[in-house]
């Protein structure tokens, strides 16, 4: 297998009610990535496009084909990757595998989503399609409901009072907003307080409004190339040194293992093993904080905190710049926004920027970051991880 690098990245603003279509948003992010790579559309050999719910938000399937055409990447194979919120990450992982295999030299991968076009009731309904539609959705399950149940289970399993856990969860959201303020692409550029989180309306107990990421529109994209090609195109290649992906059964089928997500542990181990690295080697991490409790559960599953202890680390500031392991310095899904099909590409964009050292001006550069970890969760159990490394 050949070494593979990311040679260019692009990212639209994340927002509510975008004036652009899903094709337009993807193409804007993608053209920035192509230009940054010093390439032309004709150089792209294949396109992997993450998208979750375009069928419902715009009545559009097979948008990847129109994206290729809009970009001027005429007639290249274009494939949609659907893994709910992990759609773009699995598209990037597959792009890396195609290039590593030698079949392609240059692949464009990313994602796009226009969730806010659906409005909250339909968006809540379609996001809930990421549960088992026959055995679990009939009970009225929603995405916040899934993580609400995990929060109560976490409190009971690790014997942490719900009051204490909720305070720690609130601190996760507060930290995300603090960094989101400095991210020009973020949907919310506004600081919040623990008191404000704890006084928001209840969405699915114990999760209140500011424990939850928003519905968002946006796109992000990266160009993946072989090492040989990468060295000709850029003096700042960021290598994809480890990848992992794993799947899960419905929530009830994950039973005894919960609130841990076994798929995350399987996936990240693949990525660590492939990279020859471990959690102690990670300098910066973007993890899937769709809900405040999701950050705590993810940090533990990735090996960045002991089980039952991640909340303490957020409380002590160990997940900030200057702490033990800086997490979601982009603002995370919570503050940056969560256009589901684009999220994994957005996380990858952020880690690439960190590893290139390009966030100094934004006041959120992790000094000397060399190795970064991407963690994305789709539905109730598709996990994909990427480990990126600066040369």
């Amino acid at each position: 297998m050949r070494r593979v690098a990311i040679v260019g990245v692009g990212h639209t603003d994340f927002m509510f009610d975008s004036p652009k279509t899903e094709v337009e948003m993807f193409a804007e992010a993608a053209m920035d990535a192509i230009n940054e790579s010093n390439l032309k559309p004709k150089d792209i050999q294949a396109i992997n496009c993450g998208n979750g719910l375009g069928d419902f938000s715009e009545g559009q399937i097979m948008m990847q084909s129109y994206i290729a055409d809009d970009l001027g990447c005429f007639n290249v194979p274009a494939t949609r990757f659907e893994g709910a919120c992990a759609s773009a990450t699995i598209g990037i992982r597959d792009a890396a595998m195609w290039v590593a295999s030698g079949y392609y030299d240059i692949v464009l991968a990313g994602g796009t989503e226009k969730a806010t076009a659906m409005g909250t009731p339909l968006a809540t309904r379609t996001f809930a399609m990421g549960h088992d539609s026959r055995y679990e959705s009939p009970a009225g399950m929603t995405f916040p409901g899934f993580f609400g149940m995990l929060a109560h289970l976490y409190s009971s399993r690790y014997n942490i009072s719900l009051e204490k856990l909720k305070e720690q969860m609130a601190m996760v959201s507060v930290q995300s907003h603090e960094y989101g303020v400095r991210n020009p692409h973020a949907q919310f550029k506004k600081e919040i307080s623990v008191e404000k989180v704890l006084s928001g309306f209840m969405v699915a107990s114990p999760l209140q409004l500011l424990d939850c990421c928003p519905f968002s529109d946006g796109a992000a994209a990266v160009v993946v190339a072989s090492e040989e090609v990468a060295k000709k195109l850029t003096n700042k290649p960021v290598y994809i040194v480890g990848t992992g992906q794993a799947s899960s059964g419905k929530m009830s089928a994950q039973y005894k293992y919960l609130p841990r997500i076994r798929a995350r542990e399987v996936s990240v181990k693949q990525a660590y093993d492939m990279a020859g690295l471990g959690p102690e080697d990670i300098d910066v991490c973007e993890l899937h904080d769709c809900f405040s409790i999701a950050s705590i559960i993810a940090a533990e599953g990735l090996g960045l905190a002991e089980y039952g202890k991640a909340g303490d680390l957020w409380e002590k500031g160990e997940m900030r710049i200057g702490g033990k392991i800086p997490i979601n310095i982009s603002g995370g899904l919570k503050s940056k926004g969560h256009p589901i099909g684009a999220t994994g590409a957005s996380q990858t964009y952020e880690i690439v920027k960190q590893l290139r050292g390009e966030l100094v001006d934004q006041g959120r550069q992790v000094d000397g970051a060399r190795v970064g970890l991407v963690d994305t969760l789709g539905g109730d159990g598709i996990i994909c991880n990427l480990i990126l490394k600066a040369d």
């Binding site: 009225g140 609400g148 039973y255």
Partner: protein, 136 residues
Amino acid sequence: MEYKLTFREYNKSLKTDKLLGLKCNNCHTITCPPKMTCQECASTDLEVTELSGEGKIVTYTVIYVAPEGRENETPYAVVLVELKEGPWIMGNLIDIDPARVGMELIGRQVKLGHKVFPGDKYSDGDAARPLFSFAD
């Protein structure tokens, strides 16, 4: 290979308050809701068995923001129940004021009933959902 217990058969039975699962002849694990294989050892040597419908609540949430078409049900409680026979299943909890329940629910003994979700335009028909009430 055909399923030993399909969704359609499981659903038909749940509508009469009978909870069906699959007993593994290899490792004796009970799988419920049904799958093609045993949820522990992946064996296909399974037989259909009727479960007690009794168990305890392991976690819960009360939902205030509902999917489209379910808004008039809010707030409602969703629970995961560990059945006496081992598996966990998801359902709703009744005979409570959903706005007033808390962590004291975890560990409470419950028994199974059902209610039919009539379905919506995306659901391929109706589906019975477990409806739990306190047994202790």
